[in-house]
């Protein structure tokens, strides 16, 4: 059996197709996203310069005060009062990114599109939304006006996320948790390779192996063990890369995250074996299904849109309970951000259940010894 394990391991690590998708691709994607998100974060610290043009009697004094307050409270914004003509000239010269008009209804003019312009727009929108809220409070609950004003003053503080355990995270962490979910599911490519070497009706190589005297159960277990171990190691390397090299915000301990990777790797590998073993579709079709299923699950777990998981949680929560990528991502979130053992254990139980289900389904198909056609 040791020789079988050795050769199974050797054939897998030398197969570039089996290694690229579960290991190299997530590495490349993680690195690319790290640098692209890093650039966005660096842009956060650049002060955005803008002009404010007060439009005579109609000027919204509250808005002017709001801008003053924003300027004083953070380095994000630098606003200078200017006559309209000078402001337009400065905008054209690129000295400022936009002009706020403090008229009856505050407005914004920008000279292009980009991160600074987006920030200016967000400042304006937050003021308008806040103003509407204050007007509502004044109309319906005038007694709460003082509290509302105080709340608006400390707007900057309220947007900071603070977990129950006191650990904080930025929104980009969600992307990397979903990335781990995706990488786990990409273990299906290793499972695919295993099934192709186990099912006599899929390849002549498998037929030759099945014609030999090796015990069927031993062969299945060997393939499963090697594939799973390989992918689990893949995942540990990826996590170590994220945590220790890129220094992403994974505040939980490495050991705490291993059980998630363990179950995630198992689900990825068995999913690949399951899809490959079912039916007599072409190889291209099977690979297409694997990529499609993995990507859809990862998308729903927040890979391309960080808010997607929350949207699904609100509208159709069952999907997040049966989507392994969402469960992996959520379990990582629980470990690193949201100290909620109940939620973590719920995720792990669901992952375990999915894992058993997938392994049982795979075993039922793959244990066949004779085939209808080859």
């Amino acid at each position: 059996m040791l020789t079988m394990i050795w050769y199974s391991f050797l054939t897998k690590i030398k197969n570039i197709n089996l290694i690229f998708w579960p290991l190299v691709f997530p590495f490349v994607l993680t690195t690319a996203m790290y640098f692209s998100i890093g650039q966005i974060q660096e842009a956060d610290f650049e002060t955005v310069r803008a002009a404010v043009v007060s439009q005579a009697e109609k000027a919204d004094e509250t808005f002017l005060l709001f801008l003053d307050s924003m300027e004083q409270d953070s380095d994000l914004l630098e606003v200078e009062k200017m006559p309209e003509q000078d402001a337009v000239y400065a905008l054209e010269k690129g000295e400022i990114s936009g002009i706020f008009y403090a008229g009856e209804k505050p407005s914004l003019t920008v000279g292009g599109s980009g991160f600074p312009q987006t920030i200016l727009q967000m400042v304006l929108e937050s003021y308008i939304e806040g103003k509407e809220t204050l007007e509502d409070v004044a109309s319906y609950h005038p007694e709460g006006m003082d509290a509302a004003l105080a709340s608006m003053k400390s707007y900057g503080d309220t947007v900071e996320q603070i977990s129950l355990g006191g650990r904080t995270t930025d929104s980009t962490a969600q992307f990397f948790y979903a990335m781990i979910g995706m990488a786990c599911l990409y273990g299906c490519f290793i499972g695919y390779g295993s099934a192709m070497e186990l099912q006599a009706n899929l390849t002549p190589l498998a037929a030759r192996r099945c014609a030999g005297p090796a015990n069927r159960m031993k062969m299945i277990l060997t393939e499963l063990l090697v594939s799973f171990t390989l992918h689990f190691v893949n995942m540990m390397i990826l996590l170590a890369y994220m945590k220790y090299i890129l220094r992403l915000e994974f505040s939980g301990s490495f050991a705490e995250m291993l059980p998630v990777l363990f179950l995630g790797s198992m689900i990825g590998v068995t999913m690949g074996m399951f899809i490959t073993s079912m039916g007599r579709m072409g190889e291209g079709m099977k690979i297409g299904i694997m990529v499609g299923v993995s990507m859809i699950m990862s998308f729903m777990a927040g890979l391309m849109n960080g808010n997607m998981k929350n949207v699904i949680d609100r509208s159709f929560p069952v999907l997040n309970r049966i989507n392994p990528a969402a469960l992996i991502s959520d379990a990582m979130y629980c470990i690193n951000v949201y100290d909620s053992p109940e939620r973590y254990f719920r995720d792990m139980m669901l992952l375990g259940g999915l894992c058993v289900l997938m392994a049982a389904g795979t075993f039922m198909i793959i244990r066949r010894k004779r085939y209808d056609s080859i």
């Binding site: 020789t3 050769y7 037929a207 014609a211 069927r216």
Partner: protein
């Protein structure tokens, strides 16, 4: 008896792949299964190896009922698949060792067997080469080495010479005879009649999932009417000449096209001489002349009405 197959029936949906197929292979034989593509040869092999389900019949190998779990019998069978079945990621040595390890646990013994197989297949120079670097012929030889390294009692070769150059083909055929001399019983499937004629001690001709004739090559050839085929090129004949040639003793069929005459005669002495005498008497000039004894293709043609390579 090495292999006993009785009344084997295998259907793929509505297609009958094996139609009450029988086969008896004695120990020490090189048994040829000859038939055109789609005649059921590979299906029969896959049923023998317990890879395919079948609808009816029984298969006994080395006196034991064959089943997927009969590891004792399986351990004494070597299989060479029609398609090359080796690991692209392993070099020649490791490929042979990998397959041999399914049969032989003892590492030392296995090493010796792998070296023997490499020598047998003439792959000494390529032991560290990967399959991608090997030519088609060398790849086929590796395919065979992987199937025979564990020195099986029964070797099943399913069209092992498809798309192989003549040099490699000869080497493979010589190798098969050598394995047989060393004590292995061989089942050899092919649609190349020359190969089967060259190496097989007994032959079954298959068509539409059935054996249509079984015997040694001499026995098979004696089953048909054709004893000799005489071909004469560059000869100009009229209708009367053809009618007269057809009436010559032992001539039972003739074909004349593009100044080429092909005459089929039953088994008899002086068939060629009689035809040449006729042409001489009539003062008819002619070009090249040759005479052939019947081939397995003639056997197949006479029994089924079609050529083996159709």
């Amino acid at each position: 008896m090495m292999i006993e197959i009785e009344n084997l029936v295998k259907r793929y949906g509505n297609t009958l792949a094996l139609d009450h197929f029988d086969l008896n292979v004695k120990e020490g034989e090189i048994y040829g299964l000859l038939g055109p593509n789609g005649s059921g040869k590979s299906t029969a092999i896959n049923c023998m190896l317990s890879l395919l389900k079948y609808d009816r019949g029984s298969i006994r190998i080395m006196g034991e009922e064959m089943s997927p779990d009969n590891y004792r019998v399986k351990s004494q069978i070597g299989i060479v698949m029609q398609d090359v079945a080796v690991f692209e990621e392993l070099n020649v040595y490791d490929n042979i060792d990998c397959f041999c390890s399914l049969y032989v646990r003892d590492r030392k013994k296995r090493k010796e067997m792998v070296e023997d197989a490499i020598r047998f297949a003439g792959l000494e120079e390529y032991r560290k080469s990967y399959p991608k670097k090997l030519s088609g012929g060398l790849l086929r030889r590796l395919n065979i080495a992987c199937g025979i390294a564990h020195r099986p009692k029964l070797i099943i070769l399913d069209e092992p010479t498809v798309a192989v150059d003549p040099q490699s083909r000869n080497r493979i055929l010589e190798g098969i005879c050598e394995l047989n001399r060393q004590g292995s019983t061989i089942v050899y499937t092919s649609h190349y009649m020359e190969e089967v004629e060259q190496i097989c001690t007994r032959i079954a001709i298959m068509d539409h999932g059935k054996n249509i004739a079984i015997g040694t090559k001499e026995e098979l050839k004696s089953m048909i009417k054709t004893g000799e085929t005489v071909t004469i090129e560059a000869v100009i004949l009229g209708v009367d000449d053809l009618a007269e040639i057809r009436e010559l003793p032992h001539v039972f069929d003739l074909h004349y096209e593009d100044q080429k005459l092909v005459v089929k005669c039953t088994r008899a002495k002086h068939n060629l001489l009689r035809i040449l005498n006729y042409l001489q008497e009539k003062d008819i000039p002619f070009g090249r002349v040759f005479s052939e004894l019947p081939t397995l293709n003639d056997v197949f043609l006479e029994i089924t009405g079609k050529r083996l390579r159709d």
